[in-house]
């Protein structure tokens, strides 16, 4: 039996260095976590007093210096709803193509992957420009010219164009989540289905899709969380400073929580006086996106666990 060293041979400075490096890197984790906690605490501390039922269900009053954020809440909800309807089917189908039909070598699939990654890193403001240039100026103007005799109805910023712009932005989020979930479905299940005589489409419909429902849900939640918080794409595609009533048709402008925060904190008539409103709005938005991403993180964690 070989002799076992009784203890590690001490090398001068090594233990000290080890401990130093470990604590230094650990400290960065503490710092980052601390910043996250600080943002949360400051927002909660500044906003919770104002976070009343009235605040959530009232319109802004007195030149937006008092009152609630009801139209912004409804606007955000409507926008994310339309966005989800547009983005999720596209995302799910693309993810199915990438994981079920496309082979790794296919140039087409590689191009799609690259395009999705590009969509994920393009600055959100570019989506805003695209929404303005494509949806409003190209599609909207042409619709107006063709059907409304040039009267400006669709060729202006509105909730539909803003939602579609946002859908583009959140498309990669959906694709990545759904693809990740589809990958966790064991190959055996597909083969069993095919062996029973099912076609590939039947396999996808009856085996792959039901198995990836959690992933689709995760992707949808993440997309909503992202879409609810983004402001840059809707800056000039549909968000309004103030609307007197809730949007009743798709070609109306809307108020959004994020845009409300931006406007109130930089361009309102009295920034200091409305600070409580700003904090409370931020708190609402943060709670919304935070709880959504928390749900998504938990769901994703369960998917990953299932995969192992």
């Amino acid at each position: 039996m070989p002799m076992q060293p009784k203890r590690k041979i001490p090398i001068p400075g090594r233990v000290f260095k080890d401990v130093m490096v470990k604590s230094l890197t650990g400290l960065t984790v503490v710092l980052i976590t601390g910043i996250i906690v600080a943002i949360l605490i400051i927002t909660v501390a500044g906003g919770w007093k104002n976070l009343t039922w009235e605040f959530l269900t009232q319109f802004p009053k007195d030149g937006m210096t008092r009152g609630g954020i009801f139209p912004a809440l409804v606007g955000t909800a409507l926008m994310t709803l339309i966005m989800t309807i547009a983005a999720v089917p596209f995302g799910v189908i693309t993810a199915i193509y990438l994981s079920e039909y496309a082979s790794e070598q296919s140039v087409f699939a590689k191009t799609i992957r690259f395009a999705v990654k590009t969509l994920a890193v393009v600055p959100s403001i570019i989506f805003g420009l695209f929404g303005l240039g494509f949806f409003i100026k190209f599609i909207g103007f042409n619709i107006d010219n063709a059907f409304n005799g040039g009267e400006l109805r669709w060729g202006q910023p509105n909730i539909l164009w803003a939602s579609l712009t946002m859908a583009l932005l959140t498309l990669p989020v959906v694709i990545v989540s759904v693809e990740e979930a589809i990958k966790t479905i064991p190959r055996d299940m597909r083969e069993a289905s095919l062996a029973l005589g099912a076609t590939q489409w039947q396999t996808i419909k009856n085996v792959v899709l039901p198995g990836s429902l959690t992933g689709i849900l995760t992707g949808t939640i993440l997309a909503i969380s992202r879409g609810a918080g983004e402001v840059a794409p809707i800056l000039f595609t549909g968000a309004a400073y103030y609307v007197a009533e809730l949007p009743t048709s798709l070609n109306q402008q809307f108020m959004s929580l994020g845009y409300h925060i931006y406007i109130m904190s930089t361009q309102s008539t009295n920034v200091d006086e409305t600070l409580p409103i700003q904090y409370a709005t931020t708190l609402v938005l943060l709670l919304l996106t935070f709880s959504l991403s928390l749900i998504a993180v938990i769901l994703r964690y369960r998917i990953r666990k299932k995969a192992i």
Binding site: K22, S103, F114, P123, G128
Partner: protein, 420 residues
Amino acid sequence: MNRDLPDTKKQEFEKKTALSLSIREKQFRFSDWFAEKLIKAVSFFSIAFVILIFLFVFRETLPLFSGKSGHDKIENSGISDENANGLKPESYVAGEDDQAGDELKPEVYSPDEELKPQVYSPDAETQDAGELKPETYGDVIPETGSSDDISYANEGSGDSYEIGDEAEYPVKTLFSGDWQPVSDKPRYGLLPLFVGTLKVTLMAILFAAPLAIMAALYTAMFAPPRLKEIIKPVIELLAGFPSVVIGFFALTVLATFFQQIFGYASRLNAFVGAIAMGLAAIPIIYTLTEDALNAVPRTYTEASLALGASIRQTAFSVILPAATPGIFAAVILGIGRVFGETMIALMATGNAALISANPFDSIRTLSATIGAEMAEVVFGDTHYSVLFLIGSLLFIFTFALNAIAEFYFKNKVIRRIQGK
């Protein structure tokens, strides 16, 4: 591309199980065929969208280069750059003094702005440029938003331009040092915007990259497995913070906090913006770096530990070098995120188009310029086209960054780890 698809399809099927192959070849089902084609067609859209984004963002910049300006193009070389630069500051003295100070936020501007065109007079042209410089940044903040302001500027471009200057040639002012799109002599110098963007990006990455990489190193190498499960989702939660929330945090809390520490003059400046943008970039760099570190084969770690190295030595001499290309890719994507960040830049950097090396000066970034001014411009205006030009540049830049990270560095990682 479409032509070689059948081939690759065939290869794919050959690779798949013999069972599915035989089913495929035996019978033709319309529903199956249709579903596949439909799915393929829909997934093509993500490619189409990227192309469309490029096309339509670029399309709006075209008027700039085709010279659609209807005015007579008389160039008067007598008006030098400096001179034109000096014209405007003079005209604002009345309203601008108190604003040029520390608060460069948009809201300060509303009432005084209307004075601008009225005070302006041709006499101002004779003024000396040099001594007026400090005030320049008063008028480079055009996001005031009052619509009469803009219409005035447009009238101005119609009336007072008979003398002719660069404003008739907007393309020529693109490389100048002044960003003054809303004035009676609009100048669209992108230089200060570029300098500001680069400055804030550099500072943000210098703040975010070391933090994120070290945190990732701790998570991947040193942290106990239980702690790892907590740290990862917590830092990833930061990615779920909307940028407007981070911007608001920077605007209300960070700006005051840092002002108390450093005592600088303008409350909102490049430094505050950089810290806030760094916060936005940290989760991206962290996640990708952690992935890169985890992608290093476990045998590397084990071999190093077996040779008697400590975990620290393994981390720095084995894992980090092997993961370097991946970490570079992470930092590059972080740069892309900061470069295009709009809301934080809009809210926390002060939005004054200054060229200076001082990190505590206000700056104006490319994306914030689009965000602040696009809502107020007249469709088809030169200003409008210039904003789209900025958008195209941003798009091309982030596209290139992504391509570099994707193809160059990813391949390097694979090659390095596979030992080729």
